[in-house]
Every structure is written in structure tokens, then in C-alpha cells.
Amino acid sequence: MMEDKLREFFNNNFKDAVIKEDKFRGDISYYLKPESIYDVCEAIQADASLDVKFLSDITSLDWLNHVEEKDGRFEVVYNLYSISSTYRFFLKVRLDGENPTVKSIVDLWDSANWMEREVFDMMGINFEGHPNLTKILTADELDGHPLRKDFPLTWEQPKFTWNLDDPPEVIK
């Protein structure tokens, strides 16, 4: 029921913004055009009949060197939830590898503040209009964004070597 409502909502208001609808293992996700994400979120939050008020999570994927890369290297996933109808669905946007940027939704949800900061820190996606887009988890000295596929797992910037005879090199 909620699924039909959602489809109707997108058909009526954002027919151009939806690239495709995807259903995998029972979860609906809508692939949207990156520039429309703020408007869609705003409309969803304001829509009383949908009653989707809960932003569960924001996360990101990196499709480097994968077939999926053709639609854009990065993918930002917005995980939305409706408490009254206990329904969960996903909004996804694809961004290209060079300077991935998407509009921030901090104005709509306070919780998006830290979630977007984490995505920025770990994946290097810029959120336009974010009030304080700085590192949140990784060390200040660390260059790069660890969750990108081209970031090596055992990268190490040798700092703490006072008792090692031959300090390690940067492992790449």
C-alpha cells in the first residue's frame, strides 16, 4: 500500500527526477537525479499522507572499476523510514568521480549533519550548503578518504617510530 502511495507521489510530483525504480529483496529504491535530491526530500518530509519523517541513515558507495561505474562512480544512499506505517525505502543518487557534489539536506533534518560529515570524511563527497563540512572520524593528518576503493587498506603515515631502527615507509 505504502509502495503504491510512494509511486503515485513520484509520478505526480517528480516524474522527471526519477531515473529508475529498483526493487531488490523487497526494498524499494529510487534512483534520482543528483540536483533534485533536496526538493524530493523536502516534499517527502512535508507530505502528510506519506508521513515519512525519519531519516534513518545516509551512506555512500564507490563503484570504481565495476560495471556499475558507467552510471557514475559514487552513489549516495538516503535511507528513509516512516514510523507510522513502518515502511522503509531508499533514495539513491549517482555522482561522477570528478568532484562529486550533492546538495546538503541539513536544513531538513538535523541528524543529516553528522551523517553527511561522515560521508564526506570517509568517501570524499561534498555536500553543498553544509554548515560545517569537516573531518569527523579520521585523524587530522590523514590525507585522502579511506572508504574510496583506491585508498589502500594498510596505508600508514609513519609518525610513531621513536624506538624503531628503520622506520617504515609509507605503505601504498
Binding site: F24, R25, D27, S29, K53, F54, L55, S56, D57, T59, L61, D62, W63, H66, V67, E68, V77, N79, I83, T86, R88, F90, W109, D110, S111, N113, W114, M115, E118, M122, K135, I136, L137, T138, A139, P146, L147, F151, L153
Partner: protein, 391 residues
């Protein structure tokens, strides 16, 4: 701190006895009033999500224990459910009931540590001793099923690591007895304790709208008066078969959250008793050759099982392209696993929806404009585990 400025900047942590680990908060004080509170995270950043991407699906599991180390079995459960959803594995009844029982035991474990440390922060030193005394019985139970005190990795993809021990029911009933006795002690000490009430009532208040806007979950959300529990809303692992109440607060302050957590321990005991009363018989692991590890007894005596075991250990199984999300209600809130497969034997991306990380984002709102001495109480009432906040 300069003489001309009106406010004082105070650094709290990362080494501070009541930040529950290595949280750092930068406070701006105007006299005794907090003007601004800014949490600084990352002092325990472990790169767990990146590490998970480099491991086979089976070998990711030990990493999940080490995130929310007060509730290891909840993490195992969340990850296994997500992988089972991705691979479409059906789980035998008995496994589901044992999982429910252990997940509730884990919730009690998590709440007990919270109760002890939170009360310690507020000056009730003996609470820590009592809760850790009773927690030992849970640790013994963990050891009985999984062989380890904390990081059991007992819940595996498609089932359990091994069959439940012979005395499982008797032992769990013993634990329930210990916890029930302890719970009466705690409530006698705290619930009507004037000092405790004065320190917690009206502290860290969040209204229902604020709680939803901040995406809070677990006791934080329920404390603000919203009756939402994933065990009831989107039942997983056959939670719909059990009868329990979801406690809800009214004022959204630290005292309500305390009452909710204590009541949740009672409800967990109720669920555990129900699982024991109706424990079904059956295998302890689903029979899905090629994806679920065959039972160890078969590996020793049967040819096919040994081959599957060898293949699974060396190359694992291949997951389809696509992403699934599975949220569970852990002791702290909605613990979610977002797993994206890319057609290979390693997960393309494992995203953990960390309940304490998202709940902690409410700290500035809870502190700002309130007294300085209530900051500790506000941090305590969120129930954070830094291992999960920073991952």
C-alpha cells in the same frame, strides 16, 4: 581563555572518567551555563568498515563483535540477518528462538553496564559493583555457548556456531534469577533515590519532534514519548511470536530513559522465558550447501560436507549485485547493516548504521542552555559505546 572574553572554553576528554571511553567534548561556558557543546569524535576510529571490505563474508563476522562491544550478539545478529537477506537463506525455527534469547540476554548485558556506569557518573559508586557482579553470570552464559567471555561470534551466517549446550535452559533460568534479584536491588537504590531523581529529572530533555528530527532510536526515542521499536514494527528473527511491552516515557529526560531501560530489562526477561518454554527442536544451522557452512560433525565424517567446508573457507560464496538493509533493535537503538554485494566473494561495502553515533548528535541540543554539571548526566543517558560511534 582570555580575560576579555565573556565565555570560558573547557575541554572535556578524551581521557575523562565519565565520557564512557574516549569521547571529547569542547564546552563553552558562561559561568555555570553551557553555551555551546561540541563533541569531537574519532579517537577510537578503527577503520572497521574498510577492513570488512577486504574479508570474505564469513570472516567479517568477528569485526562486528568489536564495534558495540557491550552487545556483541546483537551485532552478530544484525550482520547475519543482512547477509541472509542478501543470499535469501531460510533459518530454522530453533536457531531463530535461540537468537532471540541471546539477543535479549545481550540487551540486558548492555543495559547493566550502562546502569552501572551512568550511576557511577552521578555518584552512586556501589551500583557499578552490583551490576558488574550480576553481569558475571551473563558472561558465564556467553562462555558456555560461545567459549569466550565477550567476543563470542556465536551467531553465524545461516545459524549458530555450534549447538546450544545441554544445560542451556537451566543456565539461562539461573541467569534470569540472578538478574531478577539484582534488578530489585537497583530499583531500591535508584528509582526513588532523591539524589538520583534530582540529578536526572529534567536533564537532557528532548521533545518528540526533536527526537524524530535528530533520527534518534532506541530508549532515546521512546523516552521522548514515541512508541517505536523495530522488534514490533518490522519483526525480524520471529520476534512477532513473542509477547512483550514497549515501555514509553513522557518527559524525554534522563530519568525517563533510566525507567525505560530498567523496564526493558524486565521485558527482555519475559521474552527469554517465553523462548525457553517453547524452544523448538531442530538443526542448529540451515542446510544450504555452498553458502552456509556445514555442521562441524558432518565435516569430520562426510565427504561432501568437507568439500563444501573447504571451499567456503578458502573462497567463500559469491553474493549478487545489489544492496540490502537490515535494522535490528539493539540495546542502544536501531543497529542497521547496509550490505552491498558486487558479484564477488567479498562485500563491496558494509555500512553500519551506528545507533550511538546518531544518538550522540543530540548531545549539543541536550546540553546547550543547561547547567555545566548536567553534561555528564546527559552523556550518560545517551548510552554511547565509543567503539561503535567511531568504528
Amino acid at each position: 581563555m582570555s580575560n576579555t572574553s565573556k565565555t570560558v572554553t573547557l575541554n572535556m576528554g578524551p581521557q575523562h572518567p565519565s565520557t564512557h571511553g574516549v569521547l571529547r567534548v569542547i564546552l563553552e561556558l558562561d559561568g555555570e551555563t553551557v553555551v555551546k557543546a561540541e563533541p569531537v569524535l574519532g579517537y577510537l576510529h578503527t577503520g572497521i568498515e574498510k577492513t570488512m571490505e577486504s574479508k570474505l563474508y564469513y570472516k567479517v563476522l568477528p569485526c562486528t563483535d568489536r564495534m558495540d562491544y557491550l552487545a556483541p550478539m546483537s551485532n552478530n545478529l544484525g550482520f547475519c540477518l543482512a547477509v541472509e537477506k542478501l543470499m535469501e537463506i531460510d533459518i530454522p525455527d530453533k536457531v531463530q528462538w535461540v537468537r532471540v534469547c541471546l539477543a535479549e540476554l545481550t540487551r540486558i548485558n548492555s543495559h547493566l553496564v550502562w546502569l552501572g556506569t551512568h550511576a557511577l557518573d552521578l555518584g552512586a559508586m556501589s551500583m557499578l559493583l552490583y551490576t558488574f557482579r550480576d553481569r558475571e553470570s551473563i558472561m558465564d552464559m556467553y562462555e558456555a555457548v560461545g567459549g569466550q567471555r565477550m567476543m563470542t561470534t556465536y551467531i553465524r551466517i545461516g545459524g549458530l556456531a555450534m549447538d546450544i549446550p545441554k544445560d542451556f535452559e537451566k543456565d539461562i533460568r539461573n541467569v534470569i534469577k540472578v538478574i531478577n534479584n539484582g534488578l530489585n536491588d537497583y530499583e531500591t537504590l535508584l528509582t526513588n533515590n532523591e539524589i538520583f531523581i534530582n540529578r536526572t529529572k529534567g536533564v537532557g530533555v528532548l521533545t518528540a519532534d526533536e527526537a524524530i528530527n535528530l533520527s534518534l532510536s532506541g530508549p532515546m526515542l521512546r523516552g521522548s514519548g514515541i512508541k517505536h521499536d523495530l522488534r514490533k514494527a518490522n519483526p525480524y528473527s520471529s520476534y512477532e511470536k513473542f509477547d512483550f511491552e514497549v515501555p514509553v516515557g513522557e518527559n524525554g529526560d534522563a530519568y525517563d530513559r533510566y525507567l525505560i531501560r530498567v523496564e526493558e530489562i524486565r521485558q527482555s526477561i519475559r521474552i527469554m522465558e517465553q523462548t525457553l518454554d517453547g524452544m523448538p527442536e531442530g538443526p542448529y544451522r540451515a542446510h544450504v550447501p555452498g553458502i552456509v557452512m556445514p555442521p562441524k560433525e558432518d565435516v569430520l565424517y562426510k565427504m561432501e560436507s568437507m568439500i563444501f567446508h573447504f571451499k567456503l573457507i578458502t573462497e567463500g560464496f559469491k553474493a549478487p549485485v545489489g544492496s540490502v538493509y537490515q535494522g535490528i533493535e539493539s540495546g542502544k537503538g536501531e543497529m542497521g547493516f547496509f550490505i552491498s554485494g558486487d558479484g564477488t566473494n567479498k562485500p563491496h561495502r558494509v555500512r553500519v548504521r551506528p545507533p550511538s553515533f546518531i544518538n550522540l548528535a543530540a548531545l549539543p541540543k541536550m546540553c546547550e542552555g543547561n547547567m555545566f554539571s548536567d553534561v555528564v548526566c546527559a552523556i550518560g543517558s545517551i548510552d554511547i559505546v565509543l567503539g561503535e560511534v567511531d568504528r
